[in-house]
Symmetry: C2
Subunit: 152 residues, 2 copies
Amino acid sequence: MTHCHTYIQALRNQGYRITPQREMIIETLAHGDVHMSAEEIYQQVLQRSKAVNLATVYRTLDLLVDKGYATRFMDSDGKLMYATEKHGTHLHLTCRICGNNYQTDANLLNPLIRQIEEMTGFKADFEHIALSGICKNCLDQNINTLKKEKEV
Amino acid sequence: MTHCHTYIQALRNQGYRITPQREMIIETLAHGDVHMSAEEIYQQVLQRSKAVNLATVYRTLDLLVDKGYATRFMDSDGKLMYATEKHGTHLHLTCRICGNNYQTDANLLNPLIRQIEEMTGFKADFEHIALSGICKNCLDQNINTLKKEKEV
DNA sequence: TCCGCTATTGCAATTATTTGCAATAATATA
DNA sequence: TATATTATTGCAAATAATTGCAATAGCGGA
Ligand SMILES: [Mn+2]
Ligand SMILES: [Mn+2]
Ligand SMILES: [Zn+2]
Ligand SMILES: [Zn+2]
């Protein structure tokens, strides 16, 4: 019993109809790579059945994101990527200089999420977040350049 | 001397050419609403001069984001929005149920950013972040429904 | 099992964003 | 100020993502 069945069951309980398209799309995302684009999911589902449409993939992904079962973020090429939260939470650090992507323990977010809840009552999902900044390598290499920029 | 001149000057110092298009686009974003779409900026710049192209707006906004002078996020309609960091840092909380958008003191992020830097050396920008979750209102109203979902 | 209701799909059209390329214009240099 | 260099622009085409609508098919009830 894998987690994609949890999502499917939860959707059914909320009154959503379970179509073969939705099942295949959810299974593909849940069992595939951590991050997948709509197009990648579409191509994989196509190999199983001709009865899918890219628009349906987008709509199903939207539904999953709405429900909080998946997260969406924009990769460095500007394309939207999706991941189920069951693949583990993410904290992406993207370097503005070299473009490298670092992943960090998402537990770092726990205190932030707890504090937001205490202060505002808002219960933030413990999910994928992407922060941009400058990585250690680039900081070291560009320390002089950066100093000059700051002086402006 | 407004902050848009700071960005323009910084770009010049880095060897970027300062064109009237770039000036107008940067001024418009820096002096306009906190969040603006590329299309909105384009329309405002058009009123000043016919010599702008939407593609140039997108390219200039990309440059600002790359340099860390502006941030980009996707609004609830799926459109990309831009804001200069000089408009103040943001912490958006978007409710998955009612769709409302709450803004919170971005200083909440300070400890997280500090901890990331200590652990990884990555210097995250102190910038616009959007978290999704469920707001207090919706939590209260839907507490039973949510409980049921969890049991699945 | 069949039927009716209506959510969901596929398709095509629309909108949003990106990109290649030739023309233009910003800057450095003389 | 005139010239050379090359980054930037505008345009049009490509790609990514969304949406309206008629056809289809889940699912609950007879
Ligand atoms: Mn991720
Ligand atoms: Mn913002
Ligand atoms: Zn880097
Ligand atoms: Zn809400």
